[in-house]
């Protein structure tokens, strides 16, 4: 089926808005992680591990939107 104009707009908007939100979230997370590492350098290992786990959860939100936009595009 031919993708209509609004469909293409929706596909683009979905990943764009998701990237906006997750970007803000990742900024908060990494910023706070670095701040706590600077305050307590001996806890760097634990903070880094937990930061990556949190990053995975945040990143998944953007990736859902990516999958949705792929689905919308290929409709």
């Amino acid at each position: 089926m031919e993708l209509s104009g609004l469909g293409a707009l929706g596909a683009g908007l979905s990943i764009g808005l998701a990237a906006l939100g997750t970007g803000i979230g990742m900024g908060y997370l990494v910023g706070n992680a670095v701040a706590s590492m600077a305050r307590q350098p001996e806890a760097t290992g634990t903070i880094t591990t937990n930061m990556f786990i949190g990053l995975a959860f945040i990143e998944a939100l953007a990736l859902y939107a990516l999958v949705i936009s792929f689905m919308v595009r290929s409709l």
């Binding site: 591990t49 990556f52 786990i53 995975a56 998944a60 990736l63 990516l66 999958v67 290929s74």
Partner: protein
């Protein structure tokens, strides 16, 4: 741009056919096996390679297993390490630009969903073995201290949250791999289209080419990080059903 459908190389019906993804999964499993096997010589003084693999395995044992599950999780160390190496090699063999031959098995939702279902089964079986059927399915899903009239509301939510965690595990790996390859494809397409034009456009085509180089390096990093995250989330979920909370 279309994700090409996988052609069956050996046709054995809808479920057991051998295609490119299966071949590359075999390659990844073989590479993971070789990586570990070569380091298992049990020498008194480990060589450079053996100490590297031992360092890696110690890291997995300490950071992923002991930090998240405690000593009760040590029986799951081989599972976590196998998952890590398998997913890592599945990701990394797709980074090599082999044209139509290359394929990332983990950029297929079927592969990652199978791994996630495997993890879900292990998590549920572990929980049932640890706490019993009543303890896991009834007490384990109701947070401590909720009033009785909230239970009918909270029980389905907890079940959905368990399934959603594992759904997210599958989609995260799949979407990361697929997205990375789509970005590479877009940059490559841009570079090829610009190089086919006049001299001014060729100069501009250097930019997407540099993008390809940068994204390839980033893909190697993503392959490592995603396999790490897959393994550590698996151990977190197993640790959740091992722990006697409340």
């Amino acid at each position: 741009m279309e994700h090409a459908a996988l052609q069956n190389i050996v046709d054995l019906g809808p479920y057991f056919s051998i295609n490119k993804a299966v071949i590359w999964m075999w390659v990844a499993a073989f590479l993971a096996f070789i990586t570990i096997y070569m380091a298992g010589k049990k020498e008194m003084v480990p060589g450079r390679y053996q100490s590297f693999v031992e360092l890696l395995l110690t890291l997995i044992r300490q950071k992923m297993v002991l930090d998240t599950m405690g000593h009760a999780g040590l029986p799951y160390f081989p599972l976590i390490a196998s998952l890590f190496f398998f997913v890592f090699f599945c990701n990394i063999v797709g980074v090599f630009p082999l044209g139509p031959l290359g394929h990332t098995a983990t950029s297929d939702i079927n592969v990652t969903a199978t791994l996630a279902v495997l993890v879900l089964v292990i998590v549920v079986v572990t929980g049932v073995r640890k706490k019993g059927i009543y303890g896991y399915f009834v007490k384990g899903f109701i947070p401590h201290g909720v009033p009785w009239y909230v239970i009918p509301l909270i029980y389905p939510v907890e079940i959905i949250s368990l399934l959603a965690k594992h759904f997210a595990l599958a989609v995260r790996l799949f979407a990361n791999m697929l997205a990375g390859h789509q970005v590479l494809l877009v940059f490559t397409g841009g570079a090829v289209a610009l190089f086919a034009k006049g001299i001014g456009w060729k100069l501009l085509g250097v930019l997407p080419f540099l993008g390809v180089v940068g994204m390839l390096l980033f893909e190697i990093f993503v392959a490592l990080i995603q396999s790490f995250i897959f393994a550590i989330l698996t151990s977190l979920y197993i640790g959740d059903s091992l722990r006697e909370h409340h």
